[in-house]
Symmetry: D2
Subunit: 296 residues, 4 copies
């Protein structure tokens, strides 16, 4: 298996950047990534110094998938997401809209949490199950080079928990080679990602990437062992929710033979929703495959 070591820290989905590796469809690779804080917080007293590193979410890449052309889709099976140093870091950020209720006297200072035995040790008494996910992963658009902050049709900083071990992420290819980037692993993440800073983790991720030729999708899709999932992004969240539902319905119609209005009705009763960062991250809508298997 090919190992992609941590190279430059990249803060954009940059179609001009030289690929760090070229792989063939079907290959499994292991990719190292830095944490979202660019590794500035490793010990309890470390500070996030934005004067030296103003950006967040450094990614590893781009990974060039041979024979990928605009109009193809990438299938990205996430095999494992492992911590590289047995710990993760977070800090309490700007309360933004919550200052109306909580005030603004938020303490500064970072917080390093050990990871062991399947748990993140947030405090002496509180351990959080290790449920790793990738906050930021995406293909590279043909124009409008997004930074690693927003989410969009290319994926990007979706911050949804479903980009996790065992699931397959589908992303549209916009340029030759598709140019995949990834990073911003979290050791665990709450829905809504309230403070915008998760349990940020230097990681190595094992992925199997396959190319689906001449299949266009309008945005990110995820398949777990038992669910179909679409991800939309942007605000207001009412729009993202409507869009994610519409894309899921169109997927059920195109690939599974559903009547769109029957799918619309069924989703009303059985959909699940997973929220990424609540001010513009991904919004995932899900349906169990068990239902999808019986088109109506």
């Amino acid at each position: 298996m090919q190992q992609i070591s941590l190279g430059s820290l990249n803060y954009e989905f940059n179609r001009f950047q030289e690929p760090c590796v070229r792989i063939s469809s079907g290959e499994t690779i292991r990719v190292e990534s830095e944490d979202a804080l660019s590794g500035q917080i490793r010990k309890a007293d470390d500070l996030r110094d934005k004067s030296t590193v103003p950006f967040s979410n450094p990614l590893t890449g781009p990974i060039f998938i041979k024979q990928a052309e605009p109009g193809d889709t990438l299938s990205i099976k996430i095999e494992t997401i492992e911590s590289r140093d047995g710990q993760c870091a977070t800090y309490t950020g700007n309360p933004k809209q919550l200052c109306q209720w909580l005030g603004t006297d938020v303490p500064s200072g970072a917080h390093v949490c050990p990871i062991r035995d399947g748990f993140v040790y947030w405090s002496d008494e509180i351990k959080i199950p290790y449920q790793p996910m990738l906050g930021c992963i995406g293909t590279t658009p043909a124009y409008g080079m997004p930074s690693t902050m927003p989410a969009g049709p290319h994926g990007g900083n979706m911050d949804v928990r479903e980009v996790t071990e065992g699931n397959t992420l589908y992303l549209p290819g916009f340029v030759s080679g598709a140019l995949l980037y990834l990073g911003d692993a979290h050791a665990a993440m709450g829905q809504g990602e309230l403070s915008a800073t998760g349990l940020e983790m230097a990681a190595q991720t094992t992925l199997t990437i396959e190319l689906i030729k001449q299949k266009m999708i309008s945005g990110p899709r995820i398949e777990s062992s038992d669910e179909l999932i679409t991800v939309s992004s942007g605000t207001p969240m009412e729009r993202a929710t409507a869009d994610a539902f519409a894309q899921l319905i169109l997927w059920m119609e195109a690939d599974y033979g559903w009547n769109r209005w029957r799918a619309y009705d069924l989703l009303t009763h059985v959909a699940e929703i997973s929220m990424g960062y609540y001010e513009g991250g991904g919004l995932a809508v899900k349906i169990a495959k068990e239902y999808v298997a019986h088109p109506s």
Copy 2:
């Protein structure tokens, strides 16, 4: 146990209405309610006729809780929610924002689904687990008599799945007797309640209501066996999410000894979110009690 039979169908939280019953704190009662379609859809060919019944979500009530005064809180333990006639009904409504992607040629016509053996039979092949909830339940505000369509600090049409068997809902009391109304049971509900019409069910609900004197809460709270939950409502959803998080943090601070900024940090990593109707229903934010038990 006192049985509250179906009486008038009420479409408002009306502080002028004569109570249908007066109960004491600690009583368990069984309450019949009509379905959200006012019972107009009972057979396959029935139509929802808005000329005769323009409103939705008829409620049973008001239930007067003796000694309840403004500034008290109601604790409402939902014991069971049972179907009264072994079926539920739905229909495909206006696609609203989704028409941009799906068009507007939605078929009319209702759809009756049998309930048996713990499942709702949505089609010959698709059965949905019976997971009943109350879409609309609330106390009566002291002014501004809400209809049964919006949600708010009084509860109302929250449409969140957590108002379900085994959970305890807390609602602020605004008037003498608190004047509780309830109805709009769903046999199951997807997150986001896409079409706004769930699996609407005539129900009987068994509840135990206790009065907590001189405890003010700012809006609905729910306690399950293992979670604390706050519910906010209104749009844009970014605001409702921020509000629900803030209320949960303030609850952890006031009742469990948490530092608000530590709670803010922890929720970033462990919160769960449950969405009601995506255009203005309730938005529930949750944390496991296991975490809350260890204030930091």
Copy 3:
């Protein structure tokens, strides 16, 4: 001309309330109203005491219009809006979402401003042109008794500047007599009504009310000497904007012979927008009558 003196202070659009007056279509009346602060701030040292008056926007009414039935429309020509005591009051409220940028150390304390010679004297150096408007005016819904805080299809707390002298407001009638309430005059108002507390003024308003039988409108409309205006409300503002545009297009189609898609195109180039309170007040979309006169 009939004079309606200040009577009870009403904080709801209450269909059960006894009319304060009954008038015939075509009558001109003069209506006294209290300021939005319920008259608590009259001198520099006065305080807004919410323990005695928890509500805002007291209205005068309801005015019963004889022969008005559900499905009719009221035409309300606003002749003049005059200060009753030559002054207005405001105070600096909660910065809400702005605390993210400004902090929360907002000073308390009210501020009384004299009105004379066509100006409001906000400070020694700053005088603001007197441009009075009614913040809150509406008919009474058939169900769901709104308080005087939200705006909606019945009008209510729209807070748009176009409800002003010389303009005609159209409101749908929902109950017999229509039951009009009005108040919350502002001596002037900025768009967005940032702090939610305007230059609140005790007023007497002269109106001419006419009944348009069997004409249904979906929400508030305004006609000035040279513009047609629709008002929508609610959040997110993207939805209110879309709704107000759609209602204006449908008005142009129904009453002026426009093709809806031509109107849609034209409005893209010539519409004006006026924003009420930015977190849920009215959003007004306008087109010059000069354009409307030439349907396409």
Copy 4:
């Protein structure tokens, strides 16, 4: 005066692109730009062919301002905006959220409108005053290369009418030379830019650009002869409105000696708002300089 002829059509704010010209602070230049439809619609029968030109809003640039460094501000006085061929074009696009009320049967087909004698001739009977503005103008970010579709702190596709003749636009400089791009002139534009396609015009714009060294601003500002204006963007619009107000208050505080809470109060009574494209364009908040001159 230096003339910048139409060169390549640029659809990104691209910090890697070779400048089309280098100018000194204080220079006045004349810049040709293509229309937002990339010139595909010149005659009545022309079609917008997205297969050959998938993008919108081609810009001219980048213009390198000598000695501009990150942390400086550009002052861009817009002298004149002239049509290059005496016409403009539009077409009726997707009704998006309005399909809920209007349906989706929008006709295709473009529409060319002559410009003469100070008017745009939209139809035989309807002429719209020629009030040209630049829809898209911005400096180039240091990372995250935006396309010409969104607006942001760099300016971009703000689509606000205040970017017009006689006004001065201030933009933050992020990279050496600032790298200014501009285009997407409209012959006139309605607030909200309903259909997202204005009266798109090939233009030549005369600008005087001055460099303000070591002055950082957080986003676009505009100064007219009588107003100070801040522009924010993004959705939900409630957030953009709050942000634009906050930035205007901070400007008044920093440059004009205002107490922020006094400014907050005053803006409540005298602010004006101008809306760009209603789903994410710029939102401009304005105050008359006459008021600002008397700090309080």
